[in-house]
Protein backbone atom coordinates (compact mmCIF):
# COMPACT_ATOMS: atom_id res chain seq x y z
CA UNK A 1 0.00 0.00 0.00
CA UNK A 2 2.73 2.39 1.04
CA UNK A 3 4.85 1.60 -1.99
CA UNK A 4 1.82 1.97 -4.27
CA UNK A 5 1.30 5.49 -2.99
CA UNK A 6 4.96 6.33 -3.38
CA UNK A 7 4.80 4.99 -6.90
CA UNK A 8 1.78 7.20 -7.54
CA UNK A 9 3.84 10.22 -6.55
CA UNK A 10 6.71 9.18 -8.80
CA UNK A 11 4.35 8.68 -11.72
CA UNK A 12 2.85 12.12 -11.14
CA UNK A 13 6.30 13.68 -10.98
CA UNK A 14 7.03 12.39 -14.45
CA UNK A 15 4.99 15.36 -15.61
CA UNK A 16 7.74 17.67 -14.37
CA UNK A 17 10.19 18.04 -17.20
CA UNK A 18 13.68 19.50 -17.30
CA UNK A 19 13.35 22.28 -19.88
CA UNK A 20 16.82 21.81 -21.33
CA UNK A 21 17.04 18.06 -21.57
CA UNK A 22 13.32 17.69 -22.11
CA UNK A 23 13.39 14.67 -19.84
CA UNK A 24 11.19 14.23 -16.78
CA UNK A 25 12.88 14.62 -13.41
CA UNK A 26 12.09 11.06 -12.31
CA UNK A 27 13.86 9.44 -15.24
CA UNK A 28 16.57 12.06 -14.93
CA UNK A 29 17.25 10.66 -11.47
CA UNK A 30 16.53 13.82 -9.52
CA UNK A 31 14.01 12.21 -7.14
CA UNK A 32 15.89 10.41 -4.39
CA UNK A 33 13.08 9.45 -2.04
CA UNK A 34 9.32 9.69 -1.59
CA UNK A 35 7.50 9.11 1.70
CA UNK A 36 3.69 9.29 2.01
CA UNK A 37 2.50 9.24 5.61
CA UNK A 38 -0.95 8.22 6.81
CA UNK A 39 -1.52 11.79 7.95
CA UNK A 40 -1.54 12.82 4.29
CA UNK A 41 1.85 14.40 4.46
CA UNK A 42 4.18 13.63 1.56
CA UNK A 43 7.91 14.16 1.76
CA UNK A 44 9.92 14.30 -1.44
CA UNK A 45 13.70 14.28 -1.28
CA UNK A 46 15.22 15.46 -4.50
CA UNK A 47 18.40 16.86 -5.96
CA UNK A 48 19.40 19.11 -8.81
CA UNK A 49 21.93 18.52 -11.54
CA UNK A 50 24.36 20.87 -9.82
CA UNK A 51 24.26 22.72 -6.50
CA UNK A 52 24.62 26.15 -8.04
CA UNK A 53 22.00 25.35 -10.54
CA UNK A 54 18.77 24.90 -9.22
CA UNK A 55 16.18 25.77 -11.57
CA UNK A 56 15.74 24.75 -8.07
CA UNK A 57 13.00 27.14 -7.28
CA UNK A 58 11.27 26.21 -10.55
CA UNK A 59 11.53 22.48 -10.15
CA UNK A 60 10.78 22.56 -6.46
CA UNK A 61 7.66 24.60 -7.02
CA UNK A 62 6.55 22.30 -9.81
CA UNK A 63 7.12 19.25 -7.59
CA UNK A 64 5.12 20.78 -4.74
CA UNK A 65 2.22 21.69 -6.98
CA UNK A 66 2.18 18.37 -8.76
CA UNK A 67 2.17 16.31 -5.56
CA UNK A 68 -0.33 18.61 -3.85
CA UNK A 69 -2.86 17.86 -6.58
CA UNK A 70 -2.87 14.14 -5.81
CA UNK A 71 -6.00 12.95 -3.98
CA UNK A 72 -5.41 12.43 -0.27
CA UNK A 73 -2.39 14.67 -0.03
CA UNK A 74 -2.69 17.17 2.82
CA UNK A 75 0.80 18.61 2.93
CA UNK A 76 3.89 18.46 0.75
CA UNK A 77 7.44 18.91 1.92
CA UNK A 78 10.21 19.01 -0.62
CA UNK A 79 13.77 18.61 0.64
CA UNK A 80 16.72 19.46 -1.57
CA UNK A 81 19.87 17.48 -1.03
CA UNK A 82 23.21 17.23 -2.79
CA UNK A 83 24.27 14.10 -0.99
CA UNK A 84 24.97 12.21 -3.10
CA UNK A 85 25.72 14.63 -5.91
CA UNK A 86 23.65 13.96 -9.01
CA UNK A 87 25.41 12.19 -11.84
CA UNK A 88 24.25 11.05 -15.28
CA UNK A 89 24.69 7.55 -13.81
CA UNK A 90 21.38 8.19 -12.05
CA UNK A 91 19.43 8.48 -15.31
CA UNK A 92 17.00 5.57 -15.64
CA UNK A 93 17.11 3.12 -18.55
CA UNK A 94 13.99 4.79 -19.94
CA UNK A 95 15.70 8.15 -19.60
CA UNK A 96 18.79 6.87 -21.33
CA UNK A 97 16.65 5.58 -24.16
CA UNK A 98 14.90 8.94 -24.42
CA UNK A 99 18.22 10.80 -24.46
CA UNK A 100 19.47 8.50 -27.17
CA UNK A 101 16.55 9.50 -29.34
CA UNK A 102 17.09 13.22 -28.84
Amino acid sequence: MQSDRDELVREALKQVVDPELHLNIVDLGLIYDVAWYDSGQVEVTMTLTTPGCPVGSLLRRAVERTVAQLPGVQEVEVTLTFEPRWSPDFVSPAGRAALGRL
Binding site: Q15, V16, V17, D18, P19, E20, L21, H22, L28, L30, L48, T49, T50, P51, G52, C53, P54, V55, G56, S57, L58, L59, R61, A62, R65, T66, Q69, S87, P88, D89, V91, G95, R96, L99, G100, R101, L102
Partner: protein
Protein backbone atom coordinates in the same frame (compact mmCIF):
# COMPACT_ATOMS: atom_id res chain seq x y z
CA UNK B 1 22.52 18.18 -17.53
CA UNK B 2 19.59 20.41 -16.79
CA UNK B 3 19.65 24.10 -16.35
CA UNK B 4 22.30 24.14 -13.72
CA UNK B 5 25.19 24.45 -16.08
CA UNK B 6 24.13 27.85 -17.22
CA UNK B 7 23.07 29.44 -14.06
CA UNK B 8 19.43 28.80 -14.06
CA UNK B 9 19.31 29.35 -10.36
CA UNK B 10 16.68 31.99 -10.10
CA UNK B 11 18.15 33.30 -6.90
CA UNK B 12 21.59 33.85 -8.38
CA UNK B 13 21.16 34.55 -12.05
CA UNK B 14 21.57 38.15 -13.16
CA UNK B 15 18.26 39.75 -13.91
CA UNK B 16 19.31 43.02 -15.50
CA UNK B 17 20.10 41.69 -18.96
CA UNK B 18 23.85 42.30 -18.59
CA UNK B 19 24.89 38.95 -20.09
CA UNK B 20 22.72 39.63 -23.13
CA UNK B 21 24.24 43.09 -23.45
CA UNK B 22 27.75 41.69 -23.58
CA UNK B 23 26.75 38.92 -25.98
CA UNK B 24 24.78 41.11 -28.39
CA UNK B 25 27.61 43.64 -28.51
CA UNK B 26 30.09 40.81 -29.01
CA UNK B 27 28.11 39.48 -31.95
CA UNK B 28 27.94 42.98 -33.45
CA UNK B 29 31.73 43.17 -33.20
CA UNK B 30 31.96 39.76 -34.87
CA UNK B 31 29.97 41.09 -37.81
CA UNK B 32 32.24 44.16 -37.81
CA UNK B 33 35.25 41.81 -37.98
CA UNK B 34 33.81 40.27 -41.14
CA UNK B 35 33.15 43.69 -42.60
CA UNK B 36 36.70 44.89 -41.96
CA UNK B 37 38.24 41.74 -43.43
CA UNK B 38 35.80 41.86 -46.34
CA UNK B 39 36.91 45.39 -47.18
CA UNK B 40 40.44 44.20 -47.85
CA UNK B 41 40.65 40.44 -48.32
CA UNK B 42 44.13 40.71 -49.78
CA UNK B 43 45.45 41.08 -46.24
CA UNK B 44 44.87 37.39 -45.70
CA UNK B 45 47.60 36.50 -48.14
CA UNK B 46 49.79 39.51 -47.43
CA UNK B 47 52.23 40.12 -44.61
CA UNK B 48 50.56 40.40 -41.24
CA UNK B 49 52.94 42.50 -39.19
CA UNK B 50 51.66 46.00 -38.38
CA UNK B 51 48.99 45.70 -41.05
CA UNK B 52 46.20 48.09 -39.98
CA UNK B 53 43.37 46.00 -41.43
CA UNK B 54 44.59 42.87 -39.70
CA UNK B 55 45.16 44.71 -36.44
CA UNK B 56 41.61 46.07 -36.64
CA UNK B 57 40.13 42.67 -37.47
CA UNK B 58 42.18 40.83 -34.85
CA UNK B 59 41.21 43.21 -32.05
CA UNK B 60 37.58 43.34 -33.12
CA UNK B 61 37.56 39.55 -32.98
CA UNK B 62 39.50 38.83 -29.82
CA UNK B 63 38.39 41.78 -27.72
CA UNK B 64 35.08 42.83 -29.25
CA UNK B 65 33.72 39.37 -29.94
CA UNK B 66 35.67 36.77 -27.99
CA UNK B 67 36.32 38.65 -24.79
CA UNK B 68 32.97 40.40 -24.56
CA UNK B 69 30.98 37.24 -25.23
CA UNK B 70 33.12 35.32 -22.77
CA UNK B 71 32.50 38.00 -20.16
CA UNK B 72 28.74 37.80 -20.77
CA UNK B 73 28.81 34.03 -20.43
CA UNK B 74 30.86 34.28 -17.25
CA UNK B 75 28.36 36.61 -15.64
CA UNK B 76 25.84 33.86 -16.18
CA UNK B 77 28.09 31.02 -15.09
CA UNK B 78 30.24 32.21 -12.19
CA UNK B 79 27.36 32.12 -9.68
CA UNK B 80 26.78 28.54 -10.77
CA UNK B 81 30.42 27.60 -10.41
CA UNK B 82 30.49 29.16 -6.98
CA UNK B 83 27.05 27.98 -6.03
CA UNK B 84 26.31 31.33 -4.46
CA UNK B 85 24.87 34.69 -5.44
CA UNK B 86 27.19 37.36 -6.80
CA UNK B 87 27.24 40.89 -5.42
CA UNK B 88 25.88 43.86 -7.35
CA UNK B 89 26.42 43.77 -11.06
CA UNK B 90 27.40 47.45 -11.13
CA UNK B 91 30.98 46.40 -11.80
CA UNK B 92 29.94 44.37 -14.81
CA UNK B 93 28.04 47.30 -16.27
CA UNK B 94 31.09 49.53 -15.78
CA UNK B 95 33.22 46.86 -17.45
CA UNK B 96 30.73 46.67 -20.30
CA UNK B 97 30.78 50.41 -20.96
CA UNK B 98 34.57 50.47 -20.91
CA UNK B 99 34.90 47.45 -23.19
CA UNK B 100 32.27 48.48 -25.72
CA UNK B 101 33.69 51.98 -26.12
CA UNK B 102 37.32 50.96 -25.73
CA UNK B 103 37.26 48.36 -28.49
CA UNK B 104 35.68 50.85 -30.91
CA UNK B 105 38.31 53.47 -30.11
CA UNK B 106 41.16 50.98 -30.38
CA UNK B 107 39.99 49.78 -33.75
CA UNK B 108 39.63 53.36 -34.95
CA UNK B 109 43.13 54.01 -33.69
CA UNK B 110 44.53 51.10 -35.68
CA UNK B 111 42.56 52.07 -38.77
CA UNK B 112 43.40 55.77 -38.71
CA UNK B 113 46.87 55.37 -37.30
CA UNK B 114 45.84 57.60 -34.43
CA UNK B 115 47.90 57.05 -31.31
CA UNK B 116 45.49 59.15 -29.25
CA UNK B 117 42.53 56.99 -30.21
CA UNK B 118 44.56 53.83 -29.69
CA UNK B 119 45.75 54.98 -26.28
CA UNK B 120 42.28 56.04 -25.18
CA UNK B 121 40.77 52.79 -26.40
CA UNK B 122 43.55 50.76 -24.82
CA UNK B 123 43.09 52.55 -21.51
CA UNK B 124 39.34 51.91 -21.57
CA UNK B 125 39.77 48.25 -22.47
CA UNK B 126 42.41 47.83 -19.78
CA UNK B 127 40.08 49.44 -17.27
CA UNK B 128 37.15 47.31 -18.35
CA UNK B 129 39.15 44.10 -18.16
CA UNK B 130 40.63 45.07 -14.80
CA UNK B 131 37.23 45.89 -13.28
CA UNK B 132 35.76 42.67 -14.59
CA UNK B 133 38.71 40.52 -13.55
CA UNK B 134 38.83 42.12 -10.11
CA UNK B 135 35.11 41.64 -9.54
CA UNK B 136 35.02 38.00 -10.53
CA UNK B 137 38.57 37.13 -9.57
CA UNK B 138 37.96 38.24 -6.00
CA UNK B 139 34.71 36.29 -5.78
CA UNK B 140 36.37 33.20 -7.22
CA UNK B 141 39.35 33.49 -4.87
CA UNK B 142 37.14 33.89 -1.81
CA UNK B 143 34.84 31.04 -2.76
CA UNK B 144 35.14 27.69 -1.04
CA UNK B 145 33.89 25.93 -4.16
CA UNK B 146 35.88 22.83 -5.09
CA UNK B 147 34.79 22.99 -8.73
CA UNK B 148 37.81 22.19 -10.91
CA UNK B 149 36.77 25.00 -13.27
CA UNK B 150 37.43 27.62 -10.58
CA UNK B 151 41.27 27.73 -10.84
CA UNK B 152 41.00 27.89 -14.62
CA UNK B 153 38.80 30.96 -14.35
CA UNK B 154 41.09 32.67 -11.86
CA UNK B 155 44.19 32.02 -13.98
CA UNK B 156 42.44 33.09 -17.17
CA UNK B 157 41.23 36.37 -15.67
CA UNK B 158 44.78 37.13 -14.49
CA UNK B 159 46.07 36.40 -17.99
CA UNK B 160 43.44 38.71 -19.47
CA UNK B 161 44.70 41.63 -17.41
CA UNK B 162 48.31 40.79 -18.27
CA UNK B 163 47.44 40.55 -21.96
CA UNK B 164 45.87 43.97 -22.20
CA UNK B 165 48.58 45.52 -20.03
CA UNK B 166 51.20 44.02 -22.30
CA UNK B 167 49.32 45.30 -25.32
CA UNK B 168 49.32 48.80 -23.87
CA UNK B 169 53.09 48.55 -23.35
CA UNK B 170 53.50 47.52 -26.98
CA UNK B 171 51.39 50.45 -28.14
CA UNK B 172 53.45 52.85 -26.05
CA UNK B 173 56.58 51.27 -27.48
CA UNK B 174 55.39 52.23 -30.96
CA UNK B 175 55.10 55.84 -29.88
CA UNK B 176 57.92 56.14 -27.37
CA UNK B 177 60.40 53.23 -27.14
CA UNK B 178 60.57 51.56 -23.73
CA UNK B 179 62.72 48.51 -24.44
CA UNK B 180 63.74 46.88 -27.73
CA UNK B 181 62.63 43.45 -26.52
CA UNK B 182 59.04 44.65 -26.76
CA UNK B 183 59.48 45.23 -30.48
CA UNK B 184 61.51 42.11 -31.11
CA UNK B 185 59.63 39.58 -29.01
CA UNK B 186 56.56 41.39 -27.71
CA UNK B 187 53.95 40.30 -30.26
CA UNK B 188 54.26 36.52 -29.68
CA UNK B 189 54.14 37.16 -25.93
CA UNK B 190 50.98 39.24 -26.32
CA UNK B 191 49.41 36.50 -28.45
CA UNK B 192 50.51 33.76 -26.04
CA UNK B 193 49.01 35.51 -23.03
CA UNK B 194 45.76 36.32 -24.81
CA UNK B 195 45.31 33.26 -26.99
CA UNK B 196 46.45 30.64 -24.51
CA UNK B 197 46.45 32.30 -21.09
CA UNK B 198 43.06 33.94 -21.44
CA UNK B 199 40.97 32.20 -24.09
CA UNK B 200 42.32 28.67 -24.10
CA UNK B 201 42.59 28.30 -20.35
CA UNK B 202 39.11 29.72 -19.86
CA UNK B 203 37.56 27.60 -22.61
CA UNK B 204 39.25 24.41 -21.45
CA UNK B 205 38.19 24.99 -17.86
CA UNK B 206 34.60 25.74 -18.77
CA UNK B 207 34.56 22.76 -21.14
CA UNK B 208 35.23 20.38 -18.29
CA UNK B 209 32.02 21.68 -16.72
CA UNK B 210 29.79 22.16 -19.74
CA UNK B 211 30.62 19.36 -22.16
CA UNK B 212 29.80 16.51 -19.73
CA UNK B 213 26.63 18.33 -18.74
CA UNK B 214 25.41 19.16 -22.24
CA UNK B 215 26.30 15.69 -23.45
CA UNK B 216 24.93 14.09 -20.26
CA UNK B 217 28.08 12.05 -19.85
CA UNK B 218 28.66 10.07 -16.64
CA UNK B 219 32.01 10.05 -14.92
CA UNK B 220 34.01 12.37 -12.69
CA UNK B 221 36.32 14.66 -14.66
CA UNK B 222 37.82 16.42 -11.63
CA UNK B 223 41.19 14.65 -11.69
CA UNK B 224 41.45 15.06 -15.46
CA UNK B 225 40.62 18.75 -15.26
CA UNK B 226 43.24 19.32 -12.56
CA UNK B 227 45.91 17.43 -14.48
CA UNK B 228 45.24 19.48 -17.61
CA UNK B 229 45.24 22.71 -15.62
CA UNK B 230 48.71 22.05 -14.25
CA UNK B 231 50.03 21.11 -17.68
CA UNK B 232 48.56 24.18 -19.37
CA UNK B 233 49.59 26.65 -16.69
CA UNK B 234 52.98 25.03 -16.17
CA UNK B 235 53.73 25.18 -19.87
CA UNK B 236 52.39 28.68 -20.22
CA UNK B 237 54.39 30.10 -17.32
CA UNK B 238 57.58 28.40 -18.45
CA UNK B 239 57.09 29.57 -22.01
CA UNK B 240 56.35 33.13 -20.91
CA UNK B 241 59.37 33.28 -18.62
CA UNK B 242 61.68 31.83 -21.26
CA UNK B 243 60.38 33.78 -24.23
CA UNK B 244 61.50 37.36 -23.57
CA UNK B 245 65.14 36.48 -22.71
CA UNK B 246 65.13 34.01 -25.64
CA UNK B 247 66.02 31.05 -23.42
CA UNK B 248 65.52 28.38 -26.07
CA UNK B 249 65.56 25.31 -23.85
CA UNK B 250 62.95 26.90 -21.61
CA UNK B 251 60.84 27.82 -24.61
CA UNK B 252 61.02 24.27 -25.95
CA UNK B 253 60.20 22.75 -22.56
CA UNK B 254 57.32 25.16 -22.06
CA UNK B 255 55.93 24.45 -25.52
CA UNK B 256 56.19 20.72 -24.88
CA UNK B 257 54.35 20.86 -21.55
CA UNK B 258 51.72 23.17 -23.01
CA UNK B 259 51.23 20.84 -25.97
CA UNK B 260 50.82 17.90 -23.61
CA UNK B 261 48.15 19.86 -21.79
CA UNK B 262 46.25 20.54 -25.00
CA UNK B 263 46.53 16.92 -26.08
CA UNK B 264 45.31 15.77 -22.66
CA UNK B 265 42.33 18.08 -23.00
CA UNK B 266 41.48 16.77 -26.48
CA UNK B 267 41.78 13.23 -25.16
CA UNK B 268 39.43 14.05 -22.30
CA UNK B 269 36.84 15.57 -24.62
CA UNK B 270 36.88 12.40 -26.69
CA UNK B 271 36.58 10.35 -23.47
CA UNK B 272 33.59 12.39 -22.33
CA UNK B 273 31.85 12.13 -25.68
CA UNK B 274 32.33 8.37 -25.88
CA UNK B 275 30.48 8.03 -22.56
CA UNK B 276 27.63 10.37 -23.32
CA UNK B 277 24.02 9.30 -22.90
CA UNK B 278 22.74 11.93 -25.27
CA UNK B 279 23.21 10.67 -28.78
CA UNK B 280 22.57 13.92 -30.63
CA UNK B 281 24.54 16.90 -29.39
CA UNK B 282 22.68 19.47 -31.48
CA UNK B 283 24.21 21.96 -33.87
CA UNK B 284 25.70 24.23 -31.23
CA UNK B 285 27.51 21.55 -29.27
CA UNK B 286 28.54 19.93 -32.54
CA UNK B 287 30.33 23.10 -33.56
CA UNK B 288 31.81 23.60 -30.10
CA UNK B 289 33.20 20.08 -29.97
CA UNK B 290 34.59 20.29 -33.50
CA UNK B 291 36.61 23.30 -32.38
CA UNK B 292 38.92 20.88 -30.56
CA UNK B 293 39.96 19.47 -33.94
CA UNK B 294 40.91 22.97 -35.10
CA UNK B 295 42.90 23.42 -31.91
CA UNK B 296 44.82 20.25 -32.72
CA UNK B 297 45.32 21.43 -36.31
CA UNK B 298 46.64 24.79 -35.12
CA UNK B 299 48.92 22.99 -32.66
CA UNK B 300 50.40 20.75 -35.35
CA UNK B 301 51.03 23.67 -37.72
CA UNK B 302 52.46 25.82 -34.91
CA UNK B 303 54.83 23.08 -33.70
CA UNK B 304 55.99 22.45 -37.27
CA UNK B 305 56.72 26.14 -37.70
CA UNK B 306 58.50 26.25 -34.36
CA UNK B 307 60.66 23.30 -35.37
CA UNK B 308 61.55 25.05 -38.63
CA UNK B 309 62.48 28.21 -36.75
CA UNK B 310 64.51 26.13 -34.26
CA UNK B 311 66.51 24.72 -37.18
CA UNK B 312 67.18 28.22 -38.47
CA UNK B 313 64.81 28.05 -41.42
CA UNK B 314 62.75 31.04 -42.50
CA UNK B 315 59.17 30.57 -41.35
CA UNK B 316 56.51 31.32 -43.93
CA UNK B 317 54.20 34.10 -42.74
CA UNK B 318 51.44 32.51 -44.79
CA UNK B 319 51.57 29.40 -42.63
CA UNK B 320 51.58 31.58 -39.53
CA UNK B 321 48.41 33.19 -40.85
CA UNK B 322 46.89 29.78 -41.56
CA UNK B 323 47.69 28.64 -38.00
CA UNK B 324 46.19 31.87 -36.68
CA UNK B 325 43.01 31.28 -38.69
CA UNK B 326 42.70 27.75 -37.36
CA UNK B 327 43.33 28.92 -33.82
CA UNK B 328 41.22 32.07 -33.78
CA UNK B 329 38.45 31.05 -36.14
CA UNK B 330 38.42 27.33 -35.61
CA UNK B 331 39.24 26.97 -31.94
CA UNK B 332 38.06 30.17 -30.29
CA UNK B 333 35.42 31.17 -32.83
CA UNK B 334 33.78 27.77 -33.23
CA UNK B 335 33.84 27.05 -29.51
CA UNK B 336 32.26 30.39 -28.60
CA UNK B 337 29.67 30.35 -31.38
CA UNK B 338 28.79 26.76 -30.56
CA UNK B 339 28.40 27.45 -26.86
CA UNK B 340 26.31 30.53 -27.65
CA UNK B 341 23.79 28.27 -29.35
CA UNK B 342 23.29 26.72 -25.92
CA UNK B 343 23.73 29.80 -23.74
CA UNK B 344 21.56 32.34 -25.59
CA UNK B 345 18.37 30.22 -25.61
CA UNK B 346 18.99 29.49 -21.94
CA UNK B 347 19.31 33.16 -21.00
CA UNK B 348 16.26 34.15 -23.04
CA UNK B 349 14.20 31.24 -21.70
CA UNK B 350 14.97 32.19 -18.12
CA UNK B 351 14.17 35.86 -18.68
CA UNK B 352 11.04 35.20 -20.67
CA UNK B 353 9.43 32.02 -19.45
CA UNK B 354 10.64 31.12 -15.97
CA UNK B 355 7.78 32.96 -14.27
CA UNK B 356 5.25 31.08 -16.38
CA UNK B 357 6.58 27.68 -15.46
CA UNK B 358 4.04 25.56 -13.64
CA UNK B 359 1.22 27.90 -14.59
CA UNK B 360 0.99 27.11 -18.27
CA UNK B 361 2.81 25.40 -21.07
CA UNK B 362 6.00 27.08 -22.17
CA UNK B 363 8.42 26.11 -24.95
CA UNK B 364 11.41 23.97 -24.23
CA UNK B 365 14.74 25.73 -24.39
CA UNK B 366 15.60 23.81 -27.54
CA UNK B 367 12.50 25.15 -29.26
CA UNK B 368 13.74 28.72 -29.00
CA UNK B 369 16.60 27.97 -31.38
CA UNK B 370 16.46 26.86 -35.00
CA UNK B 371 18.89 23.97 -34.74
CA UNK B 372 18.59 23.17 -38.43
CA UNK B 373 19.82 26.67 -39.30
CA UNK B 374 22.70 26.23 -36.87
CA UNK B 375 23.66 22.95 -38.55
CA UNK B 376 23.54 24.59 -41.98
CA UNK B 377 25.67 27.41 -40.61
CA UNK B 378 28.13 24.80 -39.35
CA UNK B 379 28.54 23.36 -42.84
CA UNK B 380 29.39 26.77 -44.28
CA UNK B 381 31.63 27.51 -41.32
CA UNK B 382 33.70 24.33 -41.65
CA UNK B 383 33.93 24.43 -45.44
CA UNK B 384 34.84 28.11 -45.44
CA UNK B 385 37.43 27.89 -42.72
CA UNK B 386 39.22 24.91 -44.23
CA UNK B 387 39.29 26.50 -47.69
CA UNK B 388 40.41 29.91 -46.47
CA UNK B 389 43.15 28.44 -44.27
CA UNK B 390 44.33 26.25 -47.14
CA UNK B 391 44.17 29.18 -49.55
CA UNK B 392 46.18 31.41 -47.23
CA UNK B 393 48.79 28.73 -46.57
CA UNK B 394 49.32 28.00 -50.25
CA UNK B 395 48.93 31.61 -51.47
CA UNK B 396 45.87 30.56 -53.50
CA UNK B 397 44.16 33.93 -53.54
CA UNK B 398 40.92 32.77 -55.16
CA UNK B 399 40.60 29.96 -52.63
CA UNK B 400 41.28 32.31 -49.76
CA UNK B 401 38.67 34.78 -51.02
CA UNK B 402 36.05 32.13 -51.72
CA UNK B 403 36.74 30.45 -48.40
CA UNK B 404 36.40 33.75 -46.56
CA UNK B 405 33.04 34.37 -48.23
CA UNK B 406 31.78 30.90 -47.33
CA UNK B 407 33.04 31.25 -43.78
CA UNK B 408 31.38 34.64 -43.44
CA UNK B 409 28.12 33.13 -44.65
CA UNK B 410 28.33 30.44 -41.97
CA UNK B 411 29.07 32.99 -39.27
CA UNK B 412 26.22 35.23 -40.39
CA UNK B 413 23.79 32.30 -40.36
CA UNK B 414 24.79 31.70 -36.75
CA UNK B 415 24.46 35.37 -35.80
CA UNK B 416 21.03 35.75 -37.44
CA UNK B 417 19.81 32.50 -35.90
CA UNK B 418 20.94 33.61 -32.46
CA UNK B 419 19.36 37.03 -33.01
CA UNK B 420 16.01 35.41 -33.67
CA UNK B 421 16.13 33.81 -30.23
CA UNK B 422 15.99 37.26 -28.63
CA UNK B 423 12.65 37.86 -30.36
CA UNK B 424 11.09 35.67 -27.69
CA UNK B 425 12.37 38.02 -25.05
CA UNK B 426 10.46 40.98 -26.41
CA UNK B 427 7.34 39.21 -27.56
CA UNK B 428 5.10 40.36 -24.73
CA UNK B 429 4.66 39.94 -21.02
CA UNK B 430 5.31 36.62 -19.37
CA UNK B 431 1.73 36.27 -18.28
CA UNK B 432 0.61 36.28 -21.90
CA UNK B 433 2.79 33.44 -23.04
CA UNK B 434 1.23 31.78 -26.00
CA UNK B 435 0.72 28.03 -25.76
CA UNK B 436 3.92 26.38 -26.81
CA UNK B 437 2.89 23.90 -29.38
CA UNK B 438 3.30 20.35 -28.21
CA UNK B 439 5.71 21.12 -25.44
CA UNK B 440 4.96 21.29 -21.78
CA UNK B 441 8.07 22.21 -19.92
CA UNK B 442 8.34 21.98 -16.15
CA UNK B 443 4.63 21.85 -16.04
CA UNK B 444 2.11 19.97 -13.99
Amino acid sequence: MGLGALGANLSTRPSDGTPSLFIVTGLAYLVATLAVLGSDLAVLTGHYRHNPTLLMAAHLFVLGFGTMVTMGALIQMVPVILGEAMPSSKSTRIAYAHMAAGVALMVLGFGLGSFVSLAAGGALVTGGCAVFALHYGRALLQSASQEPTRPYMIAALAALVLTVAFGVLMAIQLHRPIHPVLTLRGLPMHILLGGVGWFTVMIVGVSYKLIPMFATAPGDVTARARRTFFLLEGGLVLLAIAWLPAWQVGVAAGALVLSLGLLAYAWDVAWILRRRLRRSLGGGMGLAVSSVLYLLGALVVSLSLAMSAWQGEIVSYRWIMAAALLFLGGWIGAMILGMLAKIVPMIVWLDRYSDAVGRRNVPTIQELLNDRAIRIGNLFFHAGLIVVAGGVATAWAIGATAGAAILATGVLIHVVTLATVWRHRSSGATGNVEPAGHSATVTQ
